[in-house]
């Protein structure tokens, strides 16, 4: 029997002209599914959620789902989200950004949003490449990988997005991959539940570009790569820095209480 009661049917836009823009084998669909499940489990409804995105493959997501959605400019999702939250504190504001979006062109907005601690739940879909523009290297592309803009190998080091968020002051920071969907569900629930600026980095596969550059030529190979390269926070604690190189540490990386921007603002001005 067809499973017609899947929550995704409740949240997809029926008026939107499908199909979506994502390539076959892309990881963003898995993320979207997880997001919808998490929202469905939460206390929020369609009307009090604002989904804000930047520019890129993952940032096309809000177009397909039935919330208040804003597809903003490249890297600036957090600036719009800040304005929305301050003007209408009752709304649950969620941002969806890619790696290039969040930490390259939007890097400054990202660290300041973490420092300021405005209540925004921020999901960063990290596919380690600029997919939409044709596979150029991003600040999350691993060192040495050949791309169209690093044809001789990437000379730069990649950002550890979670470490950056934690250092900038984000109270909740976590990471999962699209392979580890059960963990992803758990982390998304926590992130949606937390007050303040919470960050979940979701490592995703781009088989069209990133996979090709890394020599992983099918979605299955990429999924296997995600599986084999990931290890939990607890395991990582026992390992030395050298052994952790190139590995993906998954789980909750920071979870601490900090007063939010709005709480502090109220305290000072009222």
């Amino acid at each position: 029997m067809l499973e017609t009661a899947h929550p995704i049917h409740k949240y997809l836009r029926s008026s939107k002209k499908f199909p979506h823009i994502w390539c076959a084998g892309c990881g963003i669909g898995i993320f979207m599914n997880a997001l919808i499940r998490a929202i469905d489990r939460s206390a929020y409804n369609k009307d009090n959620i604002v989904l804000v995105s930047g520019i890129g493959c993952s940032s096309r997501l809000p177009v397909y789902v039935d919330f208040n959605t804003v597809h903003t400019t490249h890297g600036r999702a957090l600036t719009f989200a800040t304005g929305i939250k301050l003007a209408k504190p009752g709304m649950k504001v969620i941002t969806i950004m890619g790696d290039g979006d969040a930490v390259s062109i939007g890097g400054n907005h990202f660290i300041h949003a973490a420092r300021r601690n405005v209540e925004i739940t921020s999901f960063i879909v990290n596919n380690q490449i600029y997919g939409m523009t044709g596979g150029q290297c991003s600040p999350a592309t691993p060192h040495g990988v050949k791309t169209v803009t690093s044809p001789y190998g990437n000379a730069e080091n990649n950002f550890d997005i979670c470490l950056l968020a934690e250092a900038a002051g984000a109270p909740f920071v976590a990471r999962s991959t699209v392979y580890h969907t059960k963990l992803l569900d758990k982390l998304m629930d926590k992130a949606l539940d937390r007050k303040g600026f919470s960050v979940v980095e979701v490592i995703s596969q781009c088989v069209t570009y990133c996979g090709r550059w890394m020599g992983l030529n099918s979605p299955v190979e990429m999924m296997k790569w995600l599986k084999e390269n990931s290890l939990t926070v607890d395991k990582a604690k026992e390992m030395c820095e050298e052994d952790l190189k190139g590995k993906i540490v998954i789980g909750i990386l920071a979870d601490r209480e900090r007063p939010t921007y709005l709480e502090e603002y109220e305290k000072f001005v009222r």
């Binding site: 929305i84 209408k88 907005h109």
Partner: protein, 388 residues
């Protein structure tokens, strides 16, 4: 105790205000409830005054990490339902251009004040200029409509800020207020109207139930109604070309009507947007066309010239964009010569020349050294070019 009859009138606000402060008074009068900004000379007083006054009326103020973020937050707050503004100067205005385009495309009302200083680049941070006229018009990429107002006094800083909010709400578009540094920093004694004495406009709101709401369908006025968040009207906002439901499109039969509507919603009202003051223009053989601080010097010069028996007049422009073609063409029919004094290398004079049908001579007086154009300089130029 019996109060004298005039007591109330005397108690109405007579204030000694700076142009920048008057701007804030205007914004608050218009119902502004959100300000995001980044400090910059010579516009910082707007931000400082907002930081102090906005929380008192229940609004929110935030200092963002840069001007790009400032206008992003302003657009977000406006989408959420709050009248919003920011203020900056040339270099910050350049950074805001990306989001001005977004505001035009997604039709998000907001007000941007640009206190002009000498440029290009860091230029002359503490000195005046009128060099951003073309940046205000064409700064963001792509074809787009824009409304730009230019006050020439402290009172007009107040009044035109109120009107900037009104126009941005009426047309759902970013409106820019261009103030030159001399006006922004001038202190003048002004009497401000009380609330209720000045008309305040609100953006059109949907009247249909949410399931019937089509966010970018033309209701006839060219300006689709705009809901606020939380009211059940869920729709998609994007900077991409979009169809009437707000979804990205590349279909030419959807793109062309969108771009046309963005322009026509403002251009159809061009005759309503002819805001100017005219002085001694009925019999003028030379008419001065000026705006901002230069219009003040221009009026002084015209009065002095009249004392000397010269038939000269002045048109003070309050709207710079859309360019007041109707007004200028009418001036050209009566006046054989036009003088456009400007604190730049000729930005509005270029427009005046563009609309000239050859029956008028357009002359300029340009200054770009950071100092003001004085009445004496305009008078000298008038005497030079006066037809004898």
């Amino acid at each position: 105790m019996k109060k004298p009859k005039t007591a109330k009138k005397m108690m109405t606000y007579r204030l000694l205000l700076q142009g920048n402060e008057a701007c804030v008074k205007g914004a608050l009068m218009a119902g502004c409830l959100f300000y995001a900004g980044y400090p910059i000379t010579p516009a910082s007083e707007i931000m400082e005054t907002m930081a102090r006054d906005l929380p008192r009326v229940g609004g929110a103020f935030i200092q963002m990490e840069d001007e790009i973020a400032s206008l992003g937050a302003v657009l977000g707050a406006s989408l959420a339902g709050a009248k919003s503004m920011t203020a900056t100067s040339g270099p910050g205005f350049s950074l805001m251009q990306e989001h001005i385009g977004y505001g035009c495309m997604a039709e998000i009302p907001c007000v941007i004040v640009d206190v002009m200083r000498g440029g290009p680049s860091t230029g002359l941070p503490t000195q005046g200029a009128q060099g951003d006229v073309m940046q205000a018009r064409w700064g963001t990429h792509g074809d787009h409509p824009i409304i730009v107002l230019a006050p020439s006094s402290v009172y007009e800083c107040f009044d035109l800020t109120v009107q900037a909010f009104n126009l941005s709400e009426r047309y759902r578009t970013p409106v820019i207020v261009l103030i030159d540094e001399a006006v922004a920093h001038a202190r003048e004694s002004v009497v401000l109207p009380e609330s209720g004495q000045i008309a305040i406009e609100e953006r059109p709101r949907p009247t249909v139930p949410p399931e019937w709401y089509i966010p970018y369908a033309d209701p006839g006025s060219g300006v689709p109604p705009m809901p606020k968040y939380g009211d059940g009207y869920r729709y998609n906002v994007t900077g991409l070309c979009h169809d009437i439901r707000g979804y990205p499109t590349t279909r030419k039969d959807e793109v062309e009507p969108l771009i046309k509507r963005l322009f026509s919603k403002i251009s159809k009202d061009a005759e309503r947007l002819q805001w100017y003051d005219s002085y001694f223009t009925e019999d003028a053989l030379v008419t001065v066309v000026a705006y901002g601080s230069v219009a003040r010097a221009g009026l002084q010069a015209v009065k002095q010239a009249r004392d000397k028996g010269l038939k000269v007049g002045l048109i003070k422009l309050k709207v710079l964009w859309p360019f007041m073609r109707h007004t200028i063409v009418a001036v050209m029919e009566n006046s054989p010569r036009i003088l456009v004094p400007e604190m730049n290398m000729g930005q509005i004079s270029r427009e005046v020349k563009r609309v000239n049908r050859g029956n008028c001579e357009v002359l300029t007086l340009n200054k770009y050294d950071g100092t003001l154009i004085t009445p004496r300089e305009i008078l000298q130029r008038l005497e030079e070019i006066y037809p004898c």
